[in-house]
Amino acid sequence: MHKTIQVAVMVLTVGLATGACSAEADRSTAQERPTTSATIGGAPTQNPSVDAAVVRGSSEYDYPQTRSVSEAARKASSALIGEVVGWSDGQTTVESDGAGYEDFSYNAVLAVKVQTARRNTAQRPGEIAYVTVYRGGELRIDGQPQGSEPAFASVEELSAAVPPGTRVIVLANPVPPASQLQTDTPGAAVVSEAQGVPQGATLIQPTPQGLLFQDETGGIDSGVADGESGWGWIPGNVPAPNSFAYLAAEVGRLR
């Protein structure tokens, strides 16, 4: 009996060590984000390193969840697959109390070169789609930012986190007209308009589950709502490195 317990403790120790190593490996992978190759559809590709947590920032949403990318796409007027071209400053709005307190909301514009366009989209393959992406807020008092560090991502940080060349799926609707701002947020005002958007181009806004980047492993990394691994969009028999390719194929089959 004594030996039995000794052996059990020994195996348990190995089990714990294995678990600890696995957890450590996961953290290491998440932190270092190395660029690796992955095989998508039989062809080896080099995917840029991606960290969409920078894009999501501290924002956490309550949103209507969909069971598949097809269902999510049906709630959008644009379903696009493309490649990130770059980031620029988006619209900034402010709510002021008139006594020195100002709540800022910052957006960025993500330029995407469209490869596949579905739904009733205004975008066409080969064109650039302009996607507004929320990048965080800030409180200023008498013009001074508060706190010890910024609570929103800079354009440079976004560019480093999701660099040009990253493949992306965008499910989006047109940004509401400027006149809608006062209805949605009475008291808010536009401080600066989006940069880098050509005159006449349509600015679109992703749905909560509608901004999915292909990460360096071939998996997906969401830029708005978090927890994409729990959405149930990827069948269990699809290997994680094929997740993005699987969803892209599903979007490609849409009418």
Binding site: K3, T4, D97, D184, A188, P208, D226, G230
Partner: protein, 202 residues
């Protein structure tokens, strides 16, 4: 390279009994599954923990849902160890600033807008009333989303479907999604969140 079991000079090779292997396997599986659920259940808040102390709240100038916000603050105070405080207007250290706006299809958003030395000093909650009012149960949706987003400001994270946090088996307002007639506990915080997170911080 390591050997198993490790060889020690002078010692007899240890025999592993079937019974021993059986017990060890069960213990290992239980241990690993416990580790796994711990990792999956509660990921850290993306903006660090809240700063503790009184949880004060205020409204930005255009916010029209004060009744819902007040009710959410009251429920938080009644269900947890959190003490709440309404200062009358927004100040530099007011913990939760309520506003409303378009969120591209989401019902609500909780976010940190002032970070201070690794924790979040000031949060902002945005209710998307246009989207909420288009749901099947707008009043319940507003209550649930208010409770949900306020939960983020006291250090808990949301979950989907039946992926309950911790050992909970009942739903709470931290469940993400559109409220339907089948939803329960839409203004309640779950036991795991209350005892393992909120009450520890406050």
């Amino acid at each position: 390279m390591t050997t198993f079991p490790p060889s020690v000079p002078g010692s007899r090779p240890r025999r592993i009994s079937v019974r021993g292997l059986f017990i060890a396997a069960i213990v290992s599986v239980l241990t690993l599954s416990t580790l796994g659920s711990t990792v999956n259940a509660d990921t850290p808040q993306p903006d660090g923990p809240p700063d503790g102390g009184d949880h004060s709240w205020c409204y930005l100038s255009g916010f029209s849902e004060r009744t819902a916000a007040d009710a959410a603050m009251t429920r938080l105070r009644e269900q947890t160890d959190v003490t709440t405080n309404y200062p009358g207007s927004c100040g530099a250290k007011t913990d939760v600033r309520w506003t409303q706006g378009d969120l591209g299809g989401s019902f609500g958003r909780g976010e940190c807008i002032v970070r201070l030395n690794g924790s979040c000093d000031v949060y902002r909650i945005t209710l998307a009333m246009g989207t909420i009012n288009n749901t099947q149960q707008p009043v319940n949706q507003r209550s649930k989303t208010s409770c949900h987003e306020l939960g983020h400001t006291v250090g808990v994270r949301h979950y989907s479907d039946n992926f309950f946090p911790g050992d909970d088996t009942a739903h709470s307002c931290l469940r993400s999604g559109e409220v339907t007639g089948a939803w329960t506990n839409i203004t309640l915080y779950g036991n795991h969140h209350r005892t393992q997170h909120i009450n520890i911080t406050f």
